[in-house]
Subunit: 320 residues, 2 copies
């Protein structure tokens, strides 16, 4: 008998894609996206951030998906299908008093993003959300820049926690299949009681391949976004997972419909994907912020000058 | 001691990219590309096709890289560096009387592309080119559509031949890492006396990943093109191989310079890469010609209608 696939897709188009267009998605866009993902059989839609505007300065002008509100969400999705809703929160930016019990909320899953040094704080939030009835994940960012001792310490705390799923996050899009093999083995060894997730970026055109390989190694929650929309080089494309994962019940057609009607017109106005400055920060294993600044400047296509700046110590005065 | 990498890159920008722009590259473009690849340490540049215009009707208007001529090539590259020159020929389209002995030619490598049923004819050409002093490869196309018995028969002939390198060609961009593992094992088992090569297409964003994995499994010649330029979804990007292959002596900067000065301006005029209709033919494991026709029509973005046409038997009257 063919084993059915354990994978579940978490579509992050609105949440991670919002980093591209400041969450300027219309309600109709999000409704159409939800309907399409639900029809395709995608298990989760991450519909935004659940941070508090009180705790995040300088976010004026952002769309409503930047600071999700339950009353608003109920109007957006009056009838939920099988696709569950997820929100991401950041350490220090979420007010736990804003979070309703799950029974009164549209959300099913709350994910906490953190750097490995903040795992303790993240797990306090996880405990609160868990007690409110939510499924929870902890998403450890920038793993490629974490030293072993720090990671082992984080694992120790996570192992004892209530968190459901622990994410491997390739924040800089710098990992390849060997790194994914290594990390999945490491996480599995140290967190035998936890399910795993993976979130990739496409700086080196490896987001889909890395996600596939993680899935084959038993990683359960697979982050993706339609047409790959996400910060800088973007994410693993939802359409590729839906069509290629074996022994699943996804259907491609509704995702193609989303891509055709929503994403391709949007890509003409907003920029994400395999773009050379993002490839450069990916291969150098660093945050794409310098490349994002370059792409917003008049020198956006001056790849060699940018590469020289990042690789010549005496002229690299930027933070890393 | 760290084992040095056996990989050699064959940059196919002019040859496979010519399928995009009808080989409309200026002499200066090709000279700059050659200089950059040579500086980057890329081992081979495939500078075009060596077919005969007498044997290929309807090719009027194609650039000179469609039908390479040695006198012309000597003017283009008056001084060769370390990067060797390669040309591709097709069965039935090459006149062997056009081929000079290698000692009198600019070319070092002649590659013969064929379907598996034509391996006998390809090997006759290979023998001729080998006798003239050239390095040779045989590039078996559309492997994903070949039955085992036919492939085994082809292997038998290849094993006895003089060909230096045998290529695994993912013509439809439909293979993933498991397929690459399987094919490399199969080729290695049946062709223990031959070196291997790989040529990928990027329909499913797997061209780079598949090439990396083939390289790690000992495949020696890795086809790529700058910024991925090639027919339809394009190829494995040369810049990614150059920056990511371990234990090699490539330098990224000259390839970034090529991409910045030559490829990005060209991409604004010509289309290749991850485009949804090519993803659809890739996932359906078929030739991209239907998607190429769609992209040349007014309905270029009607992905769902195109998908329906290819997947609904009663409306699919096209050839496959």
């Amino acid at each position: 008998m063919v084993k059915s696939n354990q994978s579940k897709i978490v579509d992050c188009t609105i949440r991670d894609g919002g980093l591209v267009n400041n969450w300027d998605f219309s309600v109709e866009f999000v409704q159409n996206l939800y309907a399409g993902l639900n029809e395709a059989g995608v298990e989760y839609m991450e519909i935004g951030y659940k941070n508090s505007p009180k705790l995040l300065k300088g976010a004026e002008g952002a769309g409503p998906w930047r600071f999700l509100n339950d009353d608003f969400l109920r109007k957006v999705i009056p009838q939920k299908g099988n696709t569950k809703l997820s929100a991401l929160v950041d350490i220090g930016r979420v007010d736990v008093n804003d979070i309703l019990p799950r029974s009164e909320s549209m959300l099913d899953l709350i994910r906490v993003a953190c750097y490995s040094k903040d795992v303790d704080k993240a797990l306090q939030l996880v405990q609160t959300f868990h007690d409110l009835g939510y499924e929870t994940t902890i998403n450890i960012m920038a793993l490629s820049n974490v030293m072993e001792n720090e990671l082992l310490e984080a694992f120790e705390q996570i192992r004892e926690s209530v968190v459901d799923v622990v994410y491997i996050v390739d924040s800089y899009g710098s990992l390849d299949h060997n790194d994914i093999h290594y990390l999945v083995e490491k996480f599995r060894t140290h967190l035998p009681n936890k399910r795993l997730g993976v979130h990739t970026h496409n700086n080196l055109q490896l987001a889909f391949s890395n996600t596939l390989i993680a899935s084959e190694k038993g990683v359960e929650l697979l982050d993706a976004s339609c047409y790959g929309m996400g910060r800088a080089a973007g994410n693993c494309p939802t359409e590729l997972l839906v069509t290629h994962l074996k022994n699943t019940k996804y259907t491609l057609r509704p995702v193609l419909d989303i891509v055709e009607r929503l994403m391709i017109p949007l890509r003409e106005k907003e920029e994400w994907g395999y773009i050379i400055p993002y490839m450069i920060t990916g291969t150098l294993d660093e945050h794409p912020r310098s490349a994002m600044a370059l792409r917003s400047s008049e020198d956006k296509d001056k790849a060699v000058e940018f590469y020289d700046k990042l690789t010549t110590p005496e002229v690299n005065f930027g933070d890393k």
